[in-house]
């Protein structure tokens, strides 16, 4: 998958999780910008990504993600 394809699917998933149809995702999007992106929703997000893209994050990886760009890089590194 290309970075753009991953971003597109990810945006759809973010819109569901945060219940915001107008949410626009960029690589710089981080938890400070999305109001409801707290630690609990972060877990929901990670689990939804794992299920949708059929990948698995290792324990340490989950907590250290800074922004969406980093998230996508890591997903692609997992052979998406």
């Amino acid at each position: 998958m290309s970075k753009q394809e991953v971003m597109d699917e990810l945006q759809e998933l973010f819109r569901d999780i945060f219940d915001d149809e107008d949410l626009i995702l960029s690589e710089g999007t981080n938890s400070n910008e999305v109001e409801e992106w707290d630690s609990l929703n972060h877990i929901n997000l990670v689990i939804a990504i794992e299920r949708k893209f059929n990948i698995k994050f290792a324990l340490g990886e989950i907590q250290s993600l800074k922004d969406v760009g980093e998230m996508v890089d890591m997903m692609i590194a997992k052979h998406l």
């Binding site: 998933l13 569901d16 219940d19 609990l40 877990i43 689990i47 324990l59 989950i62």
Partner: protein
Amino acid sequence: MKVNSILEFPFNNQDIFLKKKKIKRFLLSEGKQLQKKKIAILGGVTTSEVINILDLYLLYNGVSATFYESEYNKYFEDSIFGNSDLDSFSPDLIFICTHEKNIQFYPESGATQNLEELIEQELGKYISMWDALQAKFNCPVVQNNFELPMHREMGNLDRTHSQGRSNFVSKINQSFVEEISKRKNIFIHDINYLSSWLGLTHWHNPSLWFSSKYAISFEVIPSFANNLSRLILSIWGKSKKLLILDLDNTLWGGVVGDDGVEGIKLGDDSGVGEAYILFQKCIKNLSKQGVALAICSKNEHSNAIAGLGHPDSILNESDFAVIKANWEPKHLNIRSIIEEVNLGQDSVVFFDDNPAERDLVKSQLPLVEVPDIGSNIEDYIYHLTQNSYFESVNLSNDDFKRVKYYSDNKKRSENKELFADYSEFLESLQMEAEIAHASPVYLERITQLINKTNQFNLTTRRYDFSKIEKFSNSSEHLLLYGRLKDKFGDNGLVTVVSGVVRNQALVIDLWLMSCRVLKRDLELAMFDKLIEECNSRGIQKIVGEYIESKKNMMVSDFYERLGFSPHVTDSSAESESIFWEFSVKNTGDLKNKFIKLMK
């Protein structure tokens, strides 16, 4: 939004988690009457997502809950020492969400400890919480029991050794059982069963535990929340009370009207028959626990009773408070059953193998639970038990007597139903039919249908393959078949009409249709086709024939309903035949209004 297919077993996890906010908005927008309740969740683990999903299940069942959520792992402190927020919240129900991870007094390997004392200490902690909460709030308390741990450090010995954790968990669970029997208001949420049913490798999720202190994986949260919600609803007296069942291919395999009592699959002589027996036993036990039963089946009443009289049948006529076996649309029958036993729509569950019937009932009676049970008998029992519709918090002698109460309480109310909605239902099925002259590829199926159809069969004449083949090649004969498709799928070739041209008249010697497609107006579409045929051949008159059998009472007035008038018989006619005639007018007025014809 098809919420029931998302929230009910087998749960659609993907949609539940991604669409939970949309589902909640939808449930709130339905305009259902909602009961307001306050629930305090005292967790030994992270409970956030459990609460979100529990909220959906309660809303789905008519309860709008507000929640108090204890700080992480402050269940013990909140229970014993109180907390001003919890006090002012004043809960209607308290749920103590503790898991195996919260067990404090597990025996340590190699240490010399007294197992009984450890259990006493662990149990004592819970007893003190229950009693403190009772004293303060005097409301029901729901307590998780414990699942088995993920790992067995002692292997098989873990179960039998005094220092085994599996052994400790089962002893604590047993002591919970004994303690709650001494108390009125404490209820066990049996996650020990639930985790076994789902499997411990699905239940535990170490990564999720280490990262966020969830004790269970997300994939089991819907099961957990559903199971918990049913227990809570039952504490509030909101369990389902009436199970309405279809007969053919629901309580036995096959169609009793066609196959006869001896032909239906029921009993230990076949695998399928055995599966139906197991399902019937499960229903019989529910009935003994106070669940009322009723039948809603498209059948002659006498056939329904005969089927229930099958020598191997576990369920008998007397097990049912009401039996509606007739040819009326099912939602009307169900409405009158509910009135007769005097219950609310929201206490009713309906089981039927036919997706079109389920869809009709679901759309017309939205509060009735209509699970998509599929059409495999081995699955039905899961839909009955895993949805926990009939949960009860305890069983008294009254429950065992309740079945009789429903039967006695029947109100013989007049059927005041309107049929206005049924045409809408037919419209919604998006039916398409193929009606044509029999071609070689269909002859085998036509022969089969002719030789097994008993109910919608005007003359019950049986013809063999060679005869059918001859009819299909003869210019004097007319052999029409009909296939019917609807939005649920292809019903296949389901109707046959055979006639012969004699003295400028088309004489119908055979007209039959499978019971699967009764009340769909397919017979009208066939009639339209007959008229078309007559017009193209210059035939002025159609003669219909009816021969009464034990099974075809439902079509005794069929020709009359189509507008035929009595026909004076000639001497060569079979003595038991009744003849009808119809003079073909070239008006072009079609009787069928709901089925689109395919070319």
